[in-house]
Symmetry: C2
């Protein structure tokens, strides 16, 4: 159907499934169950906000087409947004939605048996956000002859290196994010209600830039204020922005589900000297990280380059400094694969994308000035273009 | 701290914990692990977008204060948004975030043992969205002497009847939703890009109504178009709205996390007669449901009243017609407890709130005209106030 234009051609989906099947063969898996909505979309194009009920894409190592399994009313969404043949779209009985004793995955087990896969070596996404303990328990119970293992986020890893078509969307997401962040900054001043700033952000995220509309982001806009800047995930209230305070904004632009996140720190009123110094060190650290983000270097080398700059300034970040990004659904815009942190020896390749979340959350305040970037032979290519400094609104 | 004003006084949180402990005693549970972000917030006030990492609130049947357990950088968020004493806020080691073999819940098990609860009868939320198979596996492995069971969404059920303070927020959420829906309708016309309508919705949801700011909704705005109206969870594109087509909008207003959802169906251009007739039947069915939504009647009686009207018009809805609503976080604004459907004999009480999602998704198109309501002695009190008919923009 043409009403829901797919972001990629059929060949790209076929390559993805073929690559996934190769990885399954290497991992000794016959079948994988993918409940991560980003994995479902990446493999088939499936796109709808139905991930609050059990649903998944099932890939068999010997089959060209995955199976979509989900709620009956969402099966039509699979018909509209994917190229899957009809017999590969299978829905469960409506009465199983939030049923106390039975579960949709009882019928998933039945489906798997009916296709002759009851004795398969099955890899599940043990830590995917929506693969609940109960999903797993019912699936295991329903397939007593299968063997189960954690597939180690096999499809998430397959998503790590982006195609040219994906990189184009990542750059568009970056442009949307740039626009939204600049609009937030233009709106912020003492006395403006916090939710007014957020309303402008949402509008800008969605309206996008000329010719490029925005999608919903996997995380809502975050805007801690004052002492709240010492923790990263606070949202907003309708209280007015204070006359003299530090604030932080973390948002993403999303283009067809592909995310470019960005954080900026804003001081309302004249900032104390210390904050500007930390901000300078953070930007310098990000530059060191970006310069290191070349094919052949490791993820931990990027972190080490950043940390070396911080150390020179007498600072230290305890948490990881970044993570891979791409196609994402709530609740997270990270891909749950590579982290920029000590011990992650993943070798960078051109086309990987990361958010270097260069933030310091100290005892009573924090500063974060991040960048989303794509790995290229000449280092990290920044996807957004917003002033790289402590932003002062005085 | 005062920068993050709590929506309820301390006495209300104390009542909630006391009620939860009573329910635990009745269920024979010593300890419950609550990972549902709405349960975490309802019990303690904790409020931040950190639910993409393992975190929970732990309630012991003999203890006045729950324990918050989560990531170190989010512990400060717990200090800022809750009244929990310092020793009840416990964080896990940063290196465990997305670690391949270890898991934050290894340290949760340690914490539980260290408090002398290693042999407890523990109830977990087996089907809470973020309680993954891996969370459960690590917890069980770390507590070999404990006994585990599904707590059957014990806290979700405790949330079912709203306090007066909660009902006030639900009504405010309804006013926000009304404003957002009316703004969407005012924006829609043939040729307007879909994402422009959504941008206006987001802005209106967040700006709220005078004196009442909006929060993020647990589901993004849904707006299927044309044949897309035959499935409920499609989102938008940047294509222009067509000249002659059916569209559906489903959104919520959220006030401090409390949700009032609403669906309206809009026809661009002159509608075929059949659609208007179905719309009239749907509204008549909702009225029958609302009239039945009185204390003492059952959830299934509300559905039966609605279905009887549909039947008279030769129509039938296969899926459940509604679900309880209240405090919610992504990915769902339902409470996962009562469903308005056959077999749900829950007796209604004043203060329960529901979304009667009166939608028919037929083969090629659909119509939905829903209401959020609170149960009162005189029937369902509608929380929103938007034209109750097929909306025609010609």
């Amino acid at each position: 159907m043409t009403i829901y234009e797919k972001p990629f051609d059929q060949a790209e989906y076929k390559r993805r499934v073929a690559d996934t099947r190769r990885r399954m063969r290497d991992a000794g898996l016959d079948l994988i169950i993918c409940q991560d909505p980003a994995n479902m979309c990446w493999l088939t194009g499936f796109n709808g906000w139905s991930f609050y009920v059990p649903q998944c894409v099932v890939v068999h190592v010997d089959e060209d087409w995955p199976v979509w399994f989900g709620r009956a009313q969402d099966a039509k969404c699979a018909h509209v947004t994917t190229d899957l043949p009809d017999r590969q779209i299978v829905s469960f009985s409506e009465r199983l939605v939030q049923h106390k004793t039975e579960h949709p995955y009882d019928e998933l087990a039945e489906l798997i048996r009916s296709r002759g896969w009851g004795k398969a070596r099955i890899g599940v996404e043990m830590d995917a956000h929506y693969y609940t303990a109960r999903c797993h328990a019912h699936l295991v119970m329903g397939l007593p002859e299968a063997s189960f293992s954690n597939n180690g986020d096999l499809v998430n890893w397959a998503r790590l290196v982006k195609s040219e078509a994906e990189l184009a969307l990542m750059r568009e997401a970056g442009r949307i994010c740039t626009s939204a962040m600049n609009r937030a900054i233009a709106t912020m001043k003492p006395g403006v209600p916090q939710n007014q700033v957020i309303a402008e952000i949402y509008h800008a995220q969605t309206i996008g830039v000329p010719g490029i509309g925005g999608d919903y982001a996997a995380i809502c806009p975050l805007m801690p204020v004052g002492e709240g800047t010492s923790t990263p995930h606070l949202t907003w209230s309708d209280a007015p922005l204070p006359t003299n305070a530090l604030t932080m904004i973390e948002i993403a632009g999303s283009r067809r589900g592909y995310h470019a996140p960005l954080t900026r720190t804003v001081h309302l009123g004249k900032p104390p000297a210390g904050i500007g110094d930390v901000a300078k060190a953070v930007v310098e650290g990000v530059d060191a990280g970006l310069a290191t983000a070349r094919p052949g270097n490791t993820a931990e080398a990027v972190e080490a380059a950043w940390q070396a700059v911080l150390r020179r300034h007498g600072l230290k970040k305890e948490s990881r400094v970044g993570y891979s990004i791409g196609l994402s659904y709530p609740p997270d815009w990270g891909e749950r694969t590579v982290s920029l942190r000590p011990g992650d020896g993943t070798e960078l390749q051109a086309g990987m994308c990361f958010h270097i979340q260069a933030g310091l959350w100290l005892q009573d305040w924090g500063v974060a000035i991040s960048e989303s970037f794509a790995v290229t032979p000449s280092g990290g290519e920044r996807l957004c273009d917003v002033a790289r400094e402590l932003i002062v609104i005085d």
